[in-house]
């Protein structure tokens, strides 16, 4: 009994070490820098800096673009998940494969690829020119950022929604039909409410990384569009003001924790835990 306890602790040691070095210490550092000034004295200035016009603008733009891409992801993912859920195993593993395939490639590389595709003299415009169609000028616009977000985060919406759809007993849907509901009523009253936990998980898993991204906005938004992720990144890498960067990070963390809590309340069965 006692031996087991000791072995258990020993076995969990690497994990605890990892957690301490790579999660707890950095987190502690963020809070330390965020709540002090250059002299090391306590201050809320760095946190409250989020309310300044330029930072607030970046935050609102981030929230707006993240919400837009989350909504688009949802609108694309739900029908796709329904189609997948109704397919037989052979067809569906093929679709899932072509869907997952890009995810094996590096995130940065995929986003860079979109930059090349969308450029003024990029592949898409060459094709459009060849077809005598008007050229597409969305690189360095919010539209390009949303496209990048949707492209990168769509699988995170599809998987939890798909999981919650296939978990529904087909007889539950049959029962609704049996009790007089037509297909639309069945979807509104039965299928959709039963997939809500999956949808909420999907929303969290798309919204949170979209809110904090700085790579997508940097590569596809040019240098003009600053998201809150870019602002924080610049404070660390260019301005060298770790205090301000950490303070802004704390604010962002509060948003994320809020979102996670909502998700945890709805997703009791852990549809999102598959990832």
């Amino acid at each position: 009994m006692k031996n087991n306890k000791i072995t258990g602790r020993l076995l969990s040691a690497p994990y605890l070490l990892w957690e301490t070095v790579f999660i707890l210490i950095p987190l502690g550092m963020v809070f330390y820098f965020g709540l002090t000034d250059r002299t090391g004295a306590f201050t809320l200035e760095n946190v409250l800096a989020m309310m300044s016009a330029e930072h607030a603008k970046a935050l609102w733009l981030s929230i707006g673009l993240s919400l837009a891409s989350t909504l688009i992801c949802f609108l694309l993912a739900y029908p796709l998940s329904m189609i997948l859920a109704h397919m037989n195993v052979n067809q569906h593993s093929f679709i899932v494969l072509i869907f997952i395939l890009p995810m094996w490639m590096n995130f940065l590389l995929r986003t860079l690829a979109w930059q090349t595709l969308l450029e003024k003299n990029g592949v898409i415009n060459h094709i459009l020119e060849f077809l005598h169609m008007p050229s597409l000028n969305i690189i360095n616009t919010p539209a390009a950022i949303i496209l990048g977000m949707v492209y990168n985060f769509l699988p995170f919406m599809v998987l939890p929604v798909y999981n919650s759809l296939v978990k529904i007993d087909p007889n539950v849907v049959n029962a609704a039909r049996d009790l007089g509901a037509n297909e639309l009523q069945t979807f509104i009253k039965i299928t959709f409410p039963l997939t809500l936990p999956g949808v909420i998980s999907g929303i969290t898993m798309v919204f949170v990384p979209a809110l904090t991204t700085f790579v997508i906005s940097k590569l596809l938004g040019g240098s003009k569009i600053l998201l809150i992720g870019n602002v924080i990144e610049e404070e660390f890498t260019q301005a060298g003001n770790w205090h301000l960067g950490s303070g802004l990070s704390i604010v962002l963390m509060i948003f994320i924790i809020f979102n996670m809590v909502i998700s945890a309340i709805f997703d009791k069965n852990g549809e999102g835990n598959m990832l």
Binding site: D169, N171, V172, N174, A175, A176, R177, D178, L179, G180, A181, N182, Q185, K189, I190, P193, L194, L196
Partner: protein, 357 residues
């Protein structure tokens, strides 16, 4: 005879090229408790789903109360289903589950509330309105599934192995509950099960199915006492099915020994199958029996002893309250009334298709 409510006419259905039902014909009467009984894969559930509207037959027609409903979707049919594993709506409380069908039909709130009360009382779960389905036991969930179906006042209730997930004691209680419900509601129950005991306990009519064909239709007594073929005899209860020769009317030769029986009309010297239920085999002292043998196995079953007796080259299954130890020399005697004679199937195929009428 009561009015016919459902007619299945020449129903055929295949899944992935495999024939599940072949030209099935069945008439179901008003206020009848009819059970579709058979092993898994016999087509009983498919038959039920065709009536419910969840499966469309490849061929044939479904007539309900004189109307052809073959292509009607489930929500337009006047029958309700109680599904395997209950299929309750887990995101709604019990009252909302029961009210579902009535709300879809836009019934007034006071009517719905009365109906919920009435249905919960009927299934002995008063006061459960605000509970969630997951917080109920299997037996309670099953009762709610029934309540949810019957508030819609269907003319027919379809039940797809509703007791399969319950433990033995609960299953027996629910059997009596279902009989009571059926009598109180005065509607037709169509029940699917592979459990022959369930079928015998509850049904007015049993339809024994195998490989997509109806083997026999009859009351529980007929099905048990006078099985029409070896499949039915074997499937319903334990039985001794023995090759025999019908020597003449009321005289049969079983394993070379002459037994008096009551059946007539099979002709002379005709090979037949004989069914003798294990409880109908009487064990006596060797001198008194028509056939002599030795007890080869003995198991205590509670209600009775189950013994196997090697006699005349056949292993007889015997149920008796009297115990004979292994190795005892015994005699076998059978009351002529308890010997059931069946025509031998001409081929393997005919065994599945049953006896043509």
């Amino acid at each position: 005879m009561k009015k016919e409510l459902i007619n299945l006419i020449d129903i055929s259905k295949s899944f992935d090229g495999e024939l599940v039902l072949d030209e099935l014909n069945l008439n179901i009467h008003e206020n009848e408790f009819l059970t579709l009984l058979g092993p898994s894969g016999c087509g009983k559930t498919t038959t039920l789903r065709i009536m419910g509207g969840f499966v469309t037959p490849d061929k044939g027609r479904v007539i309900f109360d004189g109307q052809d409903i073959t292509s009607l979707p489930p929500n337009k049919r006047q029958l309700n289903t109680v599904f395997q594993k209950y299929a309750l709506f887990t995101h709604m409380d019990i009252a909302e589950n029961i009210a579902f069908g009535l709300k879809i039909k836009n019934k007034p709130k006071s009517y719905i509330d009365d109906k919920i009360k009435y249905a919960l009382k009927l299934v002995n779960l008063e006061g459960y309105e605000k509970r969630m389905p997951d917080s109920l036991s299997g037996g309670q969930q099953q009762r709610i599934a029934i309540a949810r179906a019957i508030v819609n006042e269907p003319k027919v209730l379809l039940l797809d192995e509703p007791l399969g997930a319950l433990d033995l004691k609960l299953r027996q209680d629910m059997q009596y509950e279902l009989i009571r419900l059926k009598n109180e509601l005065g509607i037709t129950f169509i029940y699917v099960t592979h459990d022959q005991e369930e079928a015998l306990t509850m049904s007015d009519t049993i339809v024994v199915m195998n490989q997509g064909y109806i083997q026999q239709i009859g009351t529980p007594e007929t099905i048990y006492n006078e099985p029409e073929n070896a499949f039915v005899a074997d499937f319903i209860g334990d039985s001794n099915i023995i090759d025999a020769v019908m020597l003449e009317d009321k005289l049969v030769s079983i394993l070379g020994t002459r037994f008096a029986c009551v059946d007539t009309g099979f002709g002379c010297n005709k090979p037949v199958d004989v069914v003798i239920r294990p409880e109908d085999v009487e064990l006596t002292s060797p001198e008194e029996g028509s056939l002599q043998g030795v007890v080869s196995h003995l198991i205590f079953k509670g209600v009775h002893y189950e013994m196997e007796v090697m006699a005349g080259g056949f292993e007889w299954l015997v149920h008796s309250t009297q115990m004979f130890p292994v190795g005892t020399q015994v005699g076998i005697r059978v009351n002529p009334f308890n010997i059931q004679i069946m025509n031998k199937p001409e081929s393997e195929d005919e065994e599945a298709t049953g006896i043509e009428e």
